[in-house]
């Protein structure tokens, strides 16, 4: 018990000031590595300040003094007890963290793929069985024309309809798709229900468009149109779904003994790596969609577009499947 608070303050204040100065310097220069002697001094000052705070516990009537010591102890605690990597971004590590995170959660990706395929099947059969449902399933004006009209328009176009607007179109595609991917991941917080619905709905639109064009006999046009950007864009959205299911899994936590907070803490770096990787993929997909996908025969032969899309898909599969393996 401290009998004489002013004396206690007078004796301890130099140590508190020294600790505050070290912490201020660490705040100002977060990337500076402390020399061993300074680390030892920091530890000593932290323990001394903690001891002072513990002694002060008996004095509920010194709130300002308590606040001062709590602030110092909490700041020093953060520096001393943090064992995770420092705040510096290591680009190379982040580059490989993405495929590693993907592989660590293959079950979540399979679920994301499975739900999308279910949606595709639903959209496909809905259009095949009831073509009039097109307006409901694909509420986008540019998809409501008949495939034959669209193909004819595209293949006989004499002018570039995206002339002077390609870059803007590309930027809008990138930002919109990144937003959709983030939303698909974030919806994991609804215990995965929101993620599931978004993936299913995306699948339905994809299945309906595919059924519409394939049944009209334009499978090649469709593949040439969708594959160059879709081979990257669709997996990116599936990765968003994977992230959503990882989040949902951590939130629900079947069978494990780790706390919810512990589970969420464990998956945070993987979620960050996945969403950052998917965003990079969508930047690429946005450029391809504006600058390549919208141009058809005779400007770009379908074979070339399909081969380009297939190459992208192989490269992506190889990257996600093998990059960073140890």
């Amino acid at each position: 018990m401290i009998v004489d608070i002013p004396r206690f303050v007078a004796v301890e204040r130099p140590y508190w000031d020294e600790l505050a100065a070290i912490l201020d310097r660490m705040d100002a220069e977060p990337e500076r590595r402390l020399p061993l002697a300074e680390i030892q001094r920091l530890h000593y000052l932290y323990e001394r300040c903690s001891a002072g705070l513990a002694r002060l516990d008996a004095f509920s009537t010194s709130p300002a003094l308590r606040t001062l010591l709590e602030s110092l102890v909490s700041r020093a605690y953060t520096e001393i007890h943090e064992t995770r990597a420092p705040q510096k971004i290591r680009w190379k590590a982040l580059f490989f963290a993405f495929p590693r995170a993907f592989r660590r959660h293959l079950a979540a990706f399979s679920l994301s793929l499975g739900i999308t395929l279910l949606g595709v099947a639903f959209g496909w059969f809905a259009i095949r069985m009831d073509p009039s449902s097109k307006a409901v399933l694909m509420p986008f004006p540019h998809l409501l024309h008949s495939p034959a009209e669209r193909v004819h328009e595209e293949e006989s176009a004499k002018t570039d309809r995206l002339h002077g607007a390609k870059a803007t179109f590309s930027a809008e595609l990138m930002t919109h798709n990144i937003q959709v991917t983030i939303m698909t991941l974030a919806m994991g917080m609804t215990w995965g229900a929101g993620t599931l619905m978004l993936l299913f709905y995306n699948g339905v639109i994809l299945g309906a468009v595919a059924a519409d064009y394939v049944s009209a006999g334009f499978a090649t046009f469709l593949t040439g149109w969708l594959l160059p950007h879709g081979s990257i864009e669709i997996p990116a959205i599936l990765l968003g779904g994977q992230g959503g299911f990882i989040l949902a899994g951590a939130l629900i936590g079947w069978g494990g003994r780790t706390s919810r907070s512990g589970r969420l803490r464990a998956v945070a770096p993987d979620l960050f790596a996945i969403v950052a990787g998917a965003a990079c993929m969508l930047v690429w997909a946005g450029m391809v969609e504006a600058f390549i996908s919208q141009y058809h025969r005779p400007v770009i032969p379908y074979g070339l577009k399909i081969a380009f899309g297939a190459c992208e898909l192989v490269a992506l599969t190889a990257f996600l499947g093998w990059a960073g393996r140890e």
Binding site: D27, E47, L53, L68, A186, L271
Partner: protein, 268 residues
């Protein structure tokens, strides 16, 4: 009724402070920010983002002269990057603070008091898309009101909380202590053990009430003042019994003033 009360008791209460116990057994705490303060900080941030976007828009006018398409593409990307990246970048570089949080004295911290990591910052900010649904942060606001540690969904996922920073004050005594409770002729200070016991037993609320009573004494009606000091003195006397010779000639008001010196000023 009893069952209802018990049910209420079982329900986890909303905390106003986050306490952390170190491995050394020392406990420190942070004051949790209220949803209203957080909304104000967000409004400041929204204004800062709008200003940044419009400034960049002015710069892009020059690019428009070269290519309207590219200027428009760059503005779409920059607006998006600001709306997504503003909070991530600032909270990462400023250790849990944005402009709004700095102005309102708020800081994002790890729920276990550890250093905030980039994935945590990114996750809590990306999940704003869900917290912002359906409009004006309704989901996030409700989550904040109903969660125990005032966390929105992004905070829950990232294991973060928003706290009010303690002012780094140097003064540890109420101003004018010498004027309202002089150390001279304070007979309670002659009993250091009892004074220390009184200091440990008196609550901050009672001490604050006594400070208010002493500083505002001239504003009270004489009868009310006497009654107020009588009650305060009785409360402090009930905590610790000083020997008769230390308190025999003290009025209730003098007793309360002496107690304040003991509480805030310590021993002689």
């Amino acid at each position: 009724m009893k069952a209802a009360n018990e049910g209420q008791a079982m329900k986890p209460a909303r905390q106003t402070r986050l306490s952390i116990e170190t491995p050394e057994g020392v406990v420190f705490s942070f004051e949790l920010a209220t949803p209203v303060t957080r909304a104000l900080a967000w409004a400041v941030d929204a204004a800062a983002m709008a200003v940044a976007s419009s400034m960049i828009g002015q710069v892009l006018l020059a690019l428009k002269l070269l290519s309207g398409d590219w200027a428009s593409a760059v503005s779409v990307i920059i607006y998006f990057a600001i709306s997504i990246g503003y909070a991530i970048l600032l909270e990462w570089r400023w250790r849990g603070q944005t402009i709004g949080k700095r102005l309102l004295g708020l800081r994002v911290i790890d729920v276990h008091g550890l250093r905030l990591q980039l994935p945590q910052i990114a996750l809590r900010n990306l999940l704003r898309l869900v917290d912002g649904l359906p409009a004006f942060y309704l989901v996030g606001g409700l989550a904040c009101i109903f969660s125990r540690k005032a966390q929105r969904l992004g905070d829950l996922a990232a294991n973060t909380v928003v706290t009010r920073e303690a002012p780094r004050e140097r003064a540890i005594e109420p101003s004018g202590l010498e004027r309202i409770a002089p150390a001279k002729y304070n007979s309670l200070l002659a009993q250091p053990q009892l004074a220390a016991r009184l200091r440990s037993l008196a609550t901050p609320e009672a001490a604050a009430l006594a400070v208010r009573a002493v500083t505002g004494r001239d504003g009270y009606d004489p009868a009310a003042r006497i009654a107020l000091f009588r009650e305060l003195a009785a409360h402090f006397r009930s905590l610790v019994e000083f020997p008769e010779e230390a308190v025999e000639s003290l009025t209730d008001e003098q007793y309360v003033r002496s107690v304040l010196r003991v509480i805030y000023g310590g021993a002689k």
